[in-house]
């Protein structure tokens, strides 16, 4: 048994107590964080180590972005890709080195949000997002081991992954071009979307609600966070859950944690 969580925490320093609470209540073996928004030197390593998460791979930067994978089972950092080649900290890859999960690779990624306008010409950030996905797609070809790819993908691929499919067709995160580009990444390695494997369409299944306005009343969510298993790993996934309650905590992240359990 091995359980892995992913959570875009939107500042790990501000929400370290919420991380600790989630770890106490959900008890995953491994936690992948995105948007830690700090440098490695500022990462709350001790607070997490005190809870047993002594194995840590932190790829941070000042102020923005940043990812970290912490674990109570041994791991070692194996990669730290910069698919944009611009110095942003959006990926860290680890390998579990002992126990049932030995050899499992966990890729933790924060895909660019892509700006407001879904047009390469008008909005360079949208192009960067697509380029990022295409580079990940080429990288996918090279993988040869059981791998879990998790994080904030900033794309809600299915109609039922958003509260209003038609309205969001022109909104970055749900445009046909993004969905198609993400689909190529998925197909490049036969990735299995565990969120929809365990909670099949058309069931409502969101991981993010804007801070703005009436997200709670209207349930205007999107499924932007994902856990994808390589074809050789997917059969071992035994449960998968979205921990929606954290979105109702005080001063929450706008994203919620996802957790998968594996029988390994």
């Amino acid at each position: 048994m091995l359980s892995v969580a992913t959570w875009n925490i939107n500042s790990v320093r501000l929400r370290i107590e919420q991380v600790q609470r989630m770890l106490r209540e959900q008890s995953p073996d491994v936690l992948c964080l995105q948007e830690i928004k700090c440098q490695e030197s500022q990462f709350p390593a001790q607070a997490l180590a005190d809870m047993g998460y002594i194995h840590q791979a932190v790829h941070g930067q000042k102020g923005y972005h940043g990812v970290a994978t912490v674990s109570r089972v041994p791991l070692r950092e194996i990669t730290r890709f910069d698919w944009q080649d611009n110095g942003e900290a959006r990926h860290v890859g680890v390998e579990l080195t002992e126990g049932e999960g030995k050899g499992l690779v966990i890729e933790n990624v924060y895909i660019p949000a892509g700006g407001d306008i879904p047009d390469r010409e008008l909005n360079p950030k949208f192009g960067q997002k697509l380029d990022f996905l295409e580079r990940m797609t080429r990288w996918s070809d090279t993988l040869g081991r059981p791998t879990l790819l998790v994080g904030d993908f900033n794309i809600a691929p299915l109609e039922c992954d958003v509260y209003d499919h038609k309205a969001l067709l022109k909104v970055v995160s749900h445009t046909p071009l993004e969905v198609e580009t993400l689909g190529k990444l998925r197909d490049a390695h036969g990735w299995v979307d565990l969120g929809r494997h365990f909670i099949p369409a058309p069931e409502r299944n969101y991981s993010w609600w804007s801070y703005r306005s009436y997200w709670r009343q209207k349930d205007h969510g999107r499924r932007l966070d994902h856990m994808w298993a390589s074809p050789d790993l997917a059969p071992q996934a035994s449960t998968h859950r979205f921990v929606e309650e954290t979105r109702r905590w005080e001063q929450p992240s706008d994203h919620i944690p996802l957790i998968t359990e594996f029988s390994l």
Copy 2:
């Protein structure tokens, strides 16, 4: 019986729950706030009205300074002086219009801090502080009714009003020039310093501790907040207390409330 509190709250929006807690626990009839740090439109009027403090005189500005006097006994705003003539919101004067305290005037003031260097030439803010005090001194001559003058004076007049008299002689808030200038204001109307009337020198008696460094461990406080009664009002003051516990609350103001009870 009438009780009046004064508290430099250092952002009333951020600390409205602490204000409510203090009001519940101390139950003053009137509360004078300084450094509300908001415009009148942003003042948490409803939260205070809900607790019975429905009579309010708010003199705010954007971001800095600002004073407000709220009460559960009827009052009317009578003055709103700008002794510096620069648009800063540092004073509001009210008159109680009913009940035992009818006719009592309460002047709520936030005297300028005065900058870092205690020299008019090198630091214009120090001059502005002295000018502010001198204009208040001239204003004091004109008063003819029982009056309570309260607020953050930003001066600790006595040796025992600071944790280290000698060290602070050259620190703005305790320089001989400030103490002398404040003394002239006091003498201009025969104001009675209730803090020292009820807690005589040389007893330790602080109302402010810096946010910086080890204020709690070292008790490096100063008495910057004051309640002064006009000679005709002072005999009615029956008790006076410093509510030090608020400084140990979570995310506190750097100042504590002072409360005087009057037998009226």
